[in-house]
Each structure stands twice: as structure tokens, then as C-alpha cells.
């Protein structure tokens, strides 16, 4: 009996030991296994996930320290001046302005991660939608659009497709160009020939091709002006889009009704956050002008020279905020911390002239970006949608392509005048390179096309305010150092 009892006692540690010798499996409650999502075949889930391809675009185009900042600050449109200690930020915005950036800049890495992350997301969806020709076409075109961003900014990049086991070596810029062209061309027959909102349709694809061909000479060395003009004409002929009588109707908070915006990132202050323009450009005190939920950062402003390229009669001059600033209830705002050498003193006044880029730019200096409406009471993220392709851009694209083929082309002049008239300006009777570049600048300010335009017109390496001449290799940004470190097959762009 006593022995039995002892044996019984001994079974207790054995039971614990039996439990303790198992290899425990992880039990997951709050997250989903990757396979659960990417291998789903539930049609409802799939439809929403496909729409998710667009939701993931939010985050960068209107946001600080990524692609948009690279496009804008490296061009002659905008600068982030250093205001004493404020915005010194390790000198990265000074380097960006002066074309002295390095492969370790945060923005360059953020831009890369944003685009490649979205490509991976689309690739995952393409695995699910491979069978559905229409969805397949839509997603392939979306992916091609991202490669268009990459070819423009980073040049030679790896091409990663949905079933690809590639190790990720870069391919030539020509191959990237061919990939985009063939993907979009193959998708065209399956795309909807109607205006859709914030999704890919036939006209978005043609707009993409028009812009690709317009820059073909930069990307591949071979001009494709006829193709650019033809693709733009496809958009115009389709009749799905037209110029808004009021230029700023395209940029108001509720701009989803715009007949001009062909493809937008569908921002929403609640559902799709990321467009934090008020924080980026407005003065701290502007919080009171728009009753903003957060204090702005007083960062981005336009260059004086660029501001002055707008006629006084140009409606589009309203794209800037200049002059005395008031609170929402109409009181003059006072910046008691204004520098002693600020000619305007404490009353908050945005002046187009900026005393210097660094280190002691005046806090009130510089015209601010006012193209998008700042709705009263806005949070740091706006609801205004951000256009990636706009009808007037397509008109100017066709105009430029026709002018490149024949500088006296009258249709080109007519198209430019359509855009000018809408801005309240008179007709011009002839076109030249400087004028076209400047007109594009006025129309497309702050829409992330200026750098591309300057390169195409051969002006990107030139000089402007606080920016010396820069070598040709600066037309491309470097592959981020972190990406090179992670993938030894990647090669850095020439010059870096």
C-alpha cells in the first residue's frame, strides 16, 4: 500500500514532465496568418482586397519626407528653409535643394519602400486575380504606374512580378520602359472606357502611356512624341473628362466631383490619412486661420522666382498663400517671436522673398502652398483628393508632343490656350521651350511633375535660387543604401 502511494506521488512530477517536454505551438489571436489573406478565394473578401490596392497608395504623395518631398524640393518650385535650429534636420533639405543628396537620405529610402511595398501588395493580389481578366488588367496597370514612378526617380530598378522568383537585380531603364509599355498595352482591351473614380480605367492607362512616351527620350534616349500625342488624344477623344471652369474646383476638400481629375489618391481625413499638407507648409500661427487640430510645422514654401513666374491676372496665383494672415475670426495674427530683422515685424505676413536658404531664414518668409483648400477644423491629414493625372496635364502633354514634332503646330497652341483661358489669361500665338516649361509650372505647381519637366527641358542641372549647377547624374536619385545593403545584386546608379 505504501509503495503504491509513493508511486502515485511520483506520477505528479511525471505528469508535469510530460507536459513540460512538449514543444509548444504558437497560438495566434489578434493577427492573421499571411496565407489566410493572400490565399483567400472568398469573392467578397477579394473584391475588397482589390480595392485595397488603391487604399495603400495613401501615405506618400502628399506626405512629408518621401517621394513628394524629393520631387518638390529638388525642383525650383519649393524649398524647406532652415529657420535657426528649426528644420536644420541634419541638413537633408539643404542637400536636397542644392542637389547634393546622398544614398542614405531618409526621404529617398522612404520613397523606395513606399513604391516597392505597393508593388508587393499588388503582386499578392494579382496571384488571386490572375484568372479575372478585367481585374488583372486593372492591377497590372496600377503596377505599371508604380514602375513609371520608379523609372522616373530611380531609373534602373528590379522588376518583380507576381510569380517571380527573381533575386532582384536591376534591369536597364530601357527594359523597365518596355515592361511598363507592354503591361499597359496588354491591359488596354480589358479596361473600362468610362470615367471611374480613383480607380484604373482605360483613360488612366492612356494618360500613363502619354506621360511615359512624353519622357521616353529621357528614359531611353529615343523620343516617342507621336505616341505621346496619340495616347493623350485617346483621353481627349473619350470625352469622359473635361476642364473644370474653376481651376480650384479640382483642389477643394470635396473634390471627388471634379470632371478634370483622371486619377487621384482618394484621401480622407478618417479613412485614408496621409495628405498632411497643412502641417508641411503653414506657419505655426496658421493654426488659428484654419482652426487646425494640430500646430503646423512651418516647412515648405515656394521660391520667389517661381512665384513671380505667375502673371498678376493668373487665377492660378491663388495656388500660393501670400500677404497678411488672419485668424478665422478675422484678427490679424501676431508672431511675437518674429526675428528682429524681419521687415514685417510680428504681424504674420507671408512674403514671396526669402532672405536665405540657411541657416537663418525668416520664419514668415516664403509663399506657402495654398492650392488645396484647407477646410476649417482640419486635422493634420486632409480629405482633399490628390490628382496623379489631371485633364489639363493631358492637354499640355499633347500640346508639348505636337510642338516637339512641329514647333508651329496650331493645335498645340490651341490646347495651351484652352488651359490658359481657364486661368483667366489671354491667348498666346506661338510656343517656345521656356514658355511651355513655365506654363506647365504654373498649371502643375505642387503636383509633383516639376522635376520631371525640368529634366525633359534640360533645365534640371541649371542654377536657381541658392542652387548651383548640378551634374547630369543628379537627374536620377540613388538607389537607397539600405536597399543595396539588403540585396547585393542591386547596382547603384552612376555617379553615386
Amino acid at each position: 500500500m505504501k509503495t503504491l502511494y509513493k508511486i502515485f506521488i511520483l506520477t505528479i512530477p511525471l505528469m508535469i514532465a510530460a507536459q513540460a517536454c512538449q514543444e509548444p505551438e504558437p497560438e495566434v489571436f489578434s493577427d492573421l496568418y499571411n496565407d489566410r489573406v493572400i490565399e483567400t478565394d472568398d469573392p467578397t473578401e477579394l473584391a475588397i482586397l482589390a480595392a485595397g490596392a488603391y487604399s495603400n497608395l495613401a501615405g506618400t504623395w502628399g506626405a512629408h519626407n518621401s517621394l513628394w518631398s524629393m520631387h518638390e524640393i529638388s525642383s525650383d518650385e519649393m524649398a524647406i528653409t532652415q529657420k535657426g535650429a528649426d528644420w536644420e534636420d541634419g541638413g537633408q533639405w539643404i542637400r536636397m535643394h542644392r542637389h547634393e543628396w546622398t544614398p542614405t537620405e531618409e526621404s529617398i529610402n522612404n520613397g523606395w519602400n513606399y513604391v516597392l511595398g505597393n508593388i508587393a501588395n499588388v503582386n499578392n493580389l494579382l496571384k488571386s486575380f490572375g484568372e479575372n481578366e478585367i481585374l488583372n488588367a486593372e492591377l497590372s496597370t496600377l503596377r505599371a504606374m508604380m514602375y513609371y514612378w520608379l523609372i522616373d526617380v530611380y531609373g534602373s530598378v528590379p522588376i518583380i512580378e507576381e510569380d517571380d522568383e527573381t533575386t532582384g537585380a536591376n534591369v536597364s531603364r530601357q527594359e523597365v520602359f518596355n515592361f511598363i509599355e507592354s503591361e499597359v498595352t496588354a491591359a488596354l482591351p480589358f479596361l473600362r472606357q468610362e470615367a471611374t473614380y480613383a480607380t484604373i480605367n482605360y483613360y488612366v492607362a492612356q494618360s500613363l502611356l502619354a506621360k511615359l512616351y512624353l519622357n521616353a527620350e529621357v528614359y531611353t534616349g529615343t523620343a516617342r512624341w507621336e505616341d505621346a500625342a496619340a495616347a493623350a488624344q485617346e483621353v481627349i477623344d473619350g470625352g469622359a473628362y473635361s476642364l473644370e471652369p474653376d481651376f480650384f474646383a479640382n483642389f477643394v476638400e470635396q473634390n471627388q466631383g471634379s470632371s478634370e481629375n483622371i486619377f487621384v489618391i482618394n484621401y480622407d481625413k478618417d479613412n485614408a490619412q496621409g495628405f498632411n499638407l497643412p502641417q508641411m507648409t503653414l506657419h505655426y500661427l496658421s493654426q488659428e486661420t484654419y482652426r487646425l487640430q494640430e500646430q503646423p510645422w512651418n516647412g515648405y514654401s515656394s521660391l520667389e522666382e517661381f512665384y513671380n513666374s505667375f502673371d498678376e491676372d493668373d487665377d492660378r496665383r491663388g495656388s500660393f498663400l501670400v500677404g497678411p494672415q488672419f485668424s478665422a475670426s478675422g484678427e490679424r495674427l501676431l508672431d511675437i517671436s518674429a526675428e528682429a530683422n524681419d521687415p514685417d515685424g510680428p504681424p504674420l505676413t507671408f512674403t514671396p522673398e526669402i532672405n536665405m536658404l540657411a541657416p537663418n531664414a525668416l520664419r514668415q518668409a516664403g509663399a506657402r502652398v495654398g492650392k488645396w483648400e484647407f477646410a476649417l477644423g482640419s486635422p493634420s491629414s486632409l480629405s482633399n483628393d490628390y490628382p496623379l493625372f489631371r485633364y489639363s496635364d493631358i492637354l499640355l502633354t499633347r500640346a508639348e508632343a505636337l510642338w516637339r514634332i512641329n514647333s508651329g503646330n496650331s493645335e498645340a497652341i490651341d490646347l495651351v490656350n484652352m488651359v490658359r483661358n481657364r486661368a483667366g489669361l489671354d491667348d498666346v500665338t506661338s510656343l517656345n521651350a521656356d514658355f511651355l516649361l513655365a506654363e506647365r509650372g504654373r498649371e502643375m505647381f505642387a503636383e509633383g511633375t516639376r522635376r520631371q519637366d525640368l529634366i525633359r527641358f534640360g533645365e534640371f542641372g541649371g542654377t536657381w535660387w541658392e542652387k548651383p549647377a548640378s551634374p547630369e547624374f543628379r537627374q536620377l536619385f540613388p538607389i537607397p543604401q539600405a536597399a543595396l545593403d539588403a540585396n547585393t545584386l542591386l547596382e547603384q546608379n552612376q555617379g553615386y
Binding site: P13, A20, F29, N113, D270, T488
Partner: protein
Amino acid sequence: MKKFLLLIFATLVSTGMLWAQQTVTGRVTDASDDSGLPGVNILEKGTTNGTVTDFDGNYTLSVSEGSTLVFSYVGYLTQEIPLGGRSTVDVQMAADVTQLSEVVVVGYGTQDKKEITSAVASVGTEEFNNGNITSPEQLLQGKVAGLSINSPGGDPNSGSTIRLRGLSTFGANAQPLIVIDGVIGASLDNVDPNDIETIDVLKDGSAAAIYGSRGSAGVILVTTKSGAGGSSEPTTSVDFNAFTTVDMVANTIPVLSANEFVAQGGENFGSNTDWVDELTRDAVSYTANLAIGGSNGIGTNYRASVNYRNNEGVAVNTGFERINTRLQLNQAALDNRLRLSVNFSFNELEQDNINNEAFRYAVIYNPTAPIYDDIEAPADGGYFQRNLFDFYNPVALANQQDFHTERRNELLNGRIEYDILDNLTLAVNYGRDMQRGWNGSYWSKFDLQFGAGGDGIARREDYDDLNQILTGTLNFNTELFDNLDMTILLGAETQKRESEGFGVQVRQFLFDDVGWDNLGFSSIRQGVNTDVYSYHSENVLNSAFVRANFNYDNTFFLSASVRGESYSGFGENEKTGYFPAVSAGVELTNLADLGVVSTLKVRASYGVTGQLPPDPYLALPLRGTGQRIDLDGDPLTTDDIYVGSQLNRNSNPTLKWETKSEIDIGVDYGFLDDLITGTIDFYRRDITDLLFPLTVPQGPNPFDPGGAQSIATTTWANIGDLTAGGFEFSMSVNGVNLGPVSWTPTVNFTLYDKTTIENFDVPGAPSLGFDELRIVGSAPGSPGQNNNPIIRNVVGETLGDMYGPVFQGIDENGNYVLSSTDPNEWGIIGNGLPEGEFGFSNTFVWKNWDLNFFLRGAFGHDLYNSYRGFYEPRDAASKTWNSVNTDKADARITGTPTFSSLYVEDATFVRLDNAQIGYILPLTSNVLKSFRVYVAAQNLFTITDYSGIDPEVRYRDSDNDDNTQASLSPGLERRGTYFTTRSFTFGVQIGLK
């Protein structure tokens, strides 16, 4: 309460009733030098009749004829001497050497100190720190060589950073493993300092290896007080302690006066406000502790205690209130072969905090600004505010932002031990540590910094953590042959941790009164500045272990152990790890007569320990919540909006534990019959497979070769190698007689061979290895210094080096002359880790008086003084913000604040950490055991050349929420540092029989 009154009544009565039949006199002397011993307790055995010796050791006592006298004195052997008709009894008291060879708690049991062959330190009640000690780790601060306990600044609610033998990990948990009465991984929040009997620290790899994959950062074993055991007669004892503490601001940052500020061009608002004074107060705290313990003499003993603390912080609206209750019950049965014990504690805590940025604004806010601006409507509090960049009234900030925490801890531990044979014991232990709580935050509608933008923002977060552990052990000991004893421990254990919680943040309130207590008063519950989340995670750790100890003739000792562990959070290819250890020692005094050397044990050990990944799901490809997807793009139609998912990180099936192997060579020594004792240790540790969140760019990478799937930029992996070493020394003199005064000095110091980075290689993905890690979050911060990280961790260099330009002077325009503005040309300009630390405690006893004081310090560490780094230059911003004006300030600098060696200061310091004077009232009666009053002071002075708030070592960056980054950024004193305090405590300790 009634009983208590009765006891007091009984005391009064009994003191008057003495059966004096004979008077005994005599002198008590110390056996070692024949000096008189004051304060020795003398008791007539079996009664409550007694006295204490005077200054010279003399005594007189009336006793019954034929009785026996009991002589007792702390640190000496108690003697019982029958009178045998004598009227003079002189006694020589001998030091209690056995007390020095006490039992030490080691993993899964205890060991005689003489048998210990690894580096273990034990700290008991009498060595603990004094003053208003609110958390267990503060008891130990500075007391154990190699153990750093830091709580910079004077925040009553901030926990301590604990590091054993320096920094040895970064991605994983760098705090030592806490074991409370056998419950592994329990929170120190469970214990009130008053309830702690001893704290044992397992320092080296071999001692900690029995805790396997959680032992790398060392192990701290807390043993709580228990009821008197072993007595064959019923006993009861009651202890009551109470004290009051007054805290005042000890150190802040000097700034310009209002006049000086205006003179240098500052905006003049016409007032004169000392903002630090307005934010702070003299804080008063109360603590009371009552403990009752006893035994029924037939196998039951118990101890129950209640601790109440109400602590105010020196900053307004900060402080806590806490109640800790604890019950311990032991029951023996079957002729003491079966032993049961239950240990239960329940704790409740309420904390109030403010936004620590209030400290920054209190220093730099415009001194000419008034607190209130009567032009404003009173509904907003009437505070003076100006809508300027980074400019907030600190008093408004402290009053219009509200942070509250409530927490409940329950720790339950049940244990059954059964002696199957005389030398074979089975033990089953179940432990359960439950922590529940919630945090509430409210930013008023009128809070300019944040709340106003959301029109009042409220947040509430609830959490519920449960840690359960079931352990079975078999302990077998035998004498293998003559003089060779062997003890074998076999064990199996399974531990499960669950963590759950949820949180909500909403905004836009009409009424500013309710906040988190009724979130329903909010009107906006979605979108910017709102939040809803919940989480639930579980992990299981299964272990088996064996340990064997051999003791040959109390001279040669050998110990070996191995633990195997399987964790649900390891990658599928790396499910089980093994952690071996071996150690040996020899007591040389048993082999030869070494003269004055009374103890000389030489020992060496080697042990392998691990560290678990900081989250159980890091190996898995899991998707968390993603973007909101609006099917038609129209936010007004909400029936087509869903939340998508996104990959949190790339999977890593080879993710495993971090490994540390450590060699320790030590000597335990004693001289002059162990009057002087101490320990010396050298150690060397190698850490491999560090857990680290590798940043992996989008697109093809070794964790996602196809590049088609990854949307995550992080992969947790085991990377790199570190080495570190050190030398530890401690020495105690156990009672030096300076005439009538007995002096017990104890000194310890540590010299660190700081952690060196051997490599940042990534096994299995060599291309991801790197030579340098710049810690993005270590930049000074906003405004304008966001992008120049101070800390770089460079292969071949010391962990946590600060890089920057060397300050070379000032040019004629008041600009800095720096060695270089190119970050790539910067050199090492400091390191925040100390070269050494020391503690020096002194106890003096004279008659009924006791005095002790404790000096503590660290040397060879640097601190970045961020106040100087931002606000010392008289640049344009010094018109808005007050200028920091320490004795190091140079008013000629008018350039833009720029980080350089100018703001990195040597922070070597010596601090009179605490001092206490106590007096034992010479009262004896049959209820009153002891009555002591004392006055204590903490942080009486600090000697340092550092000009910031607190020269204490910063092992972590307090401004960085990323645990890995914070651990890799030592030496940064941030602007939100709570002002240090100086405190004075008055207390009473009453013991009843």
C-alpha cells in the same frame, strides 16, 4: 483594534508587576578584545523581565532565584546562563560566525553559502537602503557589486532601470529576471519593500543557467518574510512601522532672471514668474505598515501584513497611493514530512502623472509671462498662452492634461513538499501572477498643446496579464562515500503567459469634466486623434532541468546543471535550446593553515544562458490591421468601408534565443576569524545571436527572396556578437570597536570592461550584416536637431558611443567652431556607460543609538546635457525661450544650437544616497518588544561636475519608445527629466510580542 488596546493596557499593567527576589549585576564584554558591549539584551528566561547593558557593558537586573539569563546581541551568539546562586554574572559574547555562512537562495532551492561556487550575492534586511523606499529594487541600489539600479530624476512613479554587469543585450529584455518566492517572471510590483526578508542576486552565467532562456540579464530572487517557524511553543509577533517623508526639489536647471531675460532681448510680458517654483511643491508622503506573524507550535505558522503608502511628487498633480496586503501560511503534517505553504498578495495602486514636458517648459518658459492672463475667458482656466511654436505654459500643461493609472496585482503561490524518503523530496509548486489595470488620459478642450485641436481628447486603456507556472521537482541527496555528499535536483516546468487588453481614444467634448470616465460624452470616435484597438496574446515555455551538487569534506565543491527549453515564440526550425553550466570551488583553509586567513574559497564557473524574443510572434508572418478600404471612394457611404490587413514583419523560421556564455573566476575570503569578509570576481561574457529588428527594405531580400510578398520592412533576427567583462570587489568589516562605538563598514565596487561590439553579422544572410548602427531616435530632437543621431554603435567599438563634432571655440560672430560639420568625419566624443560604480555603507552603533549612511557613485560615464544643447546659445530663439545659464554657459555663443562635444559632460558623481539616525527606546515589557524612532534623509548631497538635472547613469533613452533603440542609446539626459528631490523621513518602528 480592540485587541490592540487590550495589549497596550496589559503592557501598562505588567510593567508595574515585578517579582524581584534577587539582584544580578555584571558586565558583558566582546570576546575578541574584552571591550564592554553596550546595548546587549538581557532577559530572564521564560519571562518578559529584562534589561540592556549600559555604555560600558554593565547591567543590573532583578530576577527570580534559580532563573536563567539570556544574553542576546545582533551579530553575536546568544548565550543562556543559569544563575546557579551567583549574584554577579560576567559574560563574554562571541561573534556569530555561523550567521556569516548563512543560507543563500539559489534557483529552485537554497544552498549553504560555503558550498556556493558561482557569483551570488545576498542582501538582507539590515543592509537595505533607508528612507522612503517605495519599491523593492531601491532597497538594493548600490549594495551589490555589478548591479546597477537607476531611477534618474525624482518621479515617484517612474520605475527603475536594472542592469546586472552592464548592458549585455538590446533587442531582448535587458532587465534581470525577477523570481518572487519561486514565481518566475513575477512583477516586482507585487511586493512591498517592508515585506522583503532577503534579496539574492545570481550574477554569473552558471548561477543563472538554471533559469535557461531568461537568465542572460541575471536573476534577482526575492524572498518575503515569513512567520516564525520551528518553535515548539505558540508565538505571536506584531510589527508596526510608520513614517512621514517630506520631499523638496534638490536640483533644477539655472536660467536667466526676468530682468536678465529682457536685457538680452527677450519678449517682455511684464510679469515675473519663477516657473519651476510654480510647477513644484514640498511634497509630503505617508507610509504605514503592520505585520502580524506567529506559530501555533504544532506545525502552523503564518505572517500577514498590510502596507499603505501615499506618496506625493514634488511636481503638482503627481503621486501615488498604494496598498499592499500579503498573507503567508505554512502548514506541516505527517510528522513534518508533508509541508504545505501558500503565499498570497494583493496590491492596489493609483497613480497620477503629468506630461513630463511640463518640466522642460518650466525651465525655459518666458519668465516675464504671468501664469494667468485675465483677458482670456475664465472657462479655459484663464492661463496665459501664446500660440507660438513649442511654447506652452507649464502650469496649464500640468493642469489641463491629466494622466491616471490604476493597477491591481495578485500573486498566488502554492507549494507542496513531501519527503518520500528521508533524502528524497518531491515538491510541486503552482504560481500565478495576475496584473490588471487601466490608464486614463484626458487633454482638456483648452489644452493648447494637444487637447484644443481635438476639442477635448480622452483615452482609456485596459490591460489584463496573467502568468501561470507549474513546477515539479525531485530533490535527492546522499553520501556517495565517505565525506562525498551529492545532491541531485530534477525538475520539469511549464509556464504560460497571457496578455489581453483594449483601448479607446475619442474626442470633441462639450463638457470638460468627465473625460475617460464616460467616453460617451465624446462626439467624434473615428478618424484623426481617435483610436480603437484590442489585443490578445499567449505564449508557452516548457522546460526540464537537472542539477547535481557535490561536496567533498566541505573543501571541494562541484556543481553542474543543464536546462532544456521549448518556447512557442521560437521559429519552427529552432524549437528547443539547452543551457548548461558547471562550476567548482575549493576552500583552501581546509587544506592548510593560512594564518590570519580564515576563509579562502577559490571558485570558477562557466554557464550558458539565453534571452527570449521580446514578443512571442516575431518569427511568424502575421498580418495586423491595414488601411481602411472604401470601395466607392465616397466617405459618406459607409456600408462599403472595410479595414484591410498588412504584414507586420517578414517571417523568420530560424528565430531563436539570444545566447550568453560567461566565465567567472572568484574568491570568497575572510580574515581574522572572518571579522573581515568579502568577495572578488572577474567575469568575461560573450553574447551571440542577439535579437534584433533588422530593417529590411522592400523588394527582394534574404528573408523574402522572391520579393513578391514582403510589405514589411522589419525582420527579427539573431545577429552579431558582443563581449563584456568586469571586476567586482566587496568587503565588509563585521563590527570594528572604536571605543564604545561599533562600526561596520561595507564597501563594494565594480570596474567594467564595457561591452564591445564584435560584429553585426547576420548568419544566413551575410549581405544584411553591417558595421555601424546609427540610432535614429538618439538625435537631440525638435526643434531642428531631429536628424543628427548622437549614438552610433560601431563594430570594434564600445556599445553606445556618442559621435559628434569636437567643439573648438567660438568665432567673432558668436558661431561655433567645430571640428567638422560632416557627420562622416565625426569621432567618438563620449560614452554613457560607466567605467565603474561603487557603494560604501557605514553603520555605527553606540548604546541604543544607531547611525548609518551610504555613499554611492559612478564614474567614467558621460551625459548629453540636452538643456544646454538646446537653450544655452543666445540665438534668435532665446528671445522666445529663456536661456539655460549653468556655470558652463558661454553667453557669447549666438549661433544656431548644434550638437557637439560642448554638451557632452563627464557625469562622474558621488552621492550621499541615504543616512539615518535611530534610537531604540530602552523599554521592555511583556508586550513591547522594541520601540525605535529614526530620522532619515535621502540624496543629502551630490558631488559632480555635471551641470544637468541628475548625473545618474542613463542606461536607456527615456524619449525613445522603441525598446531596442532605447537600450542602445545610453547617456542622454532628456529635457523631460523629472527634477531630483531631497527627502527627509521621520519614522517609528514598534515591535510587539
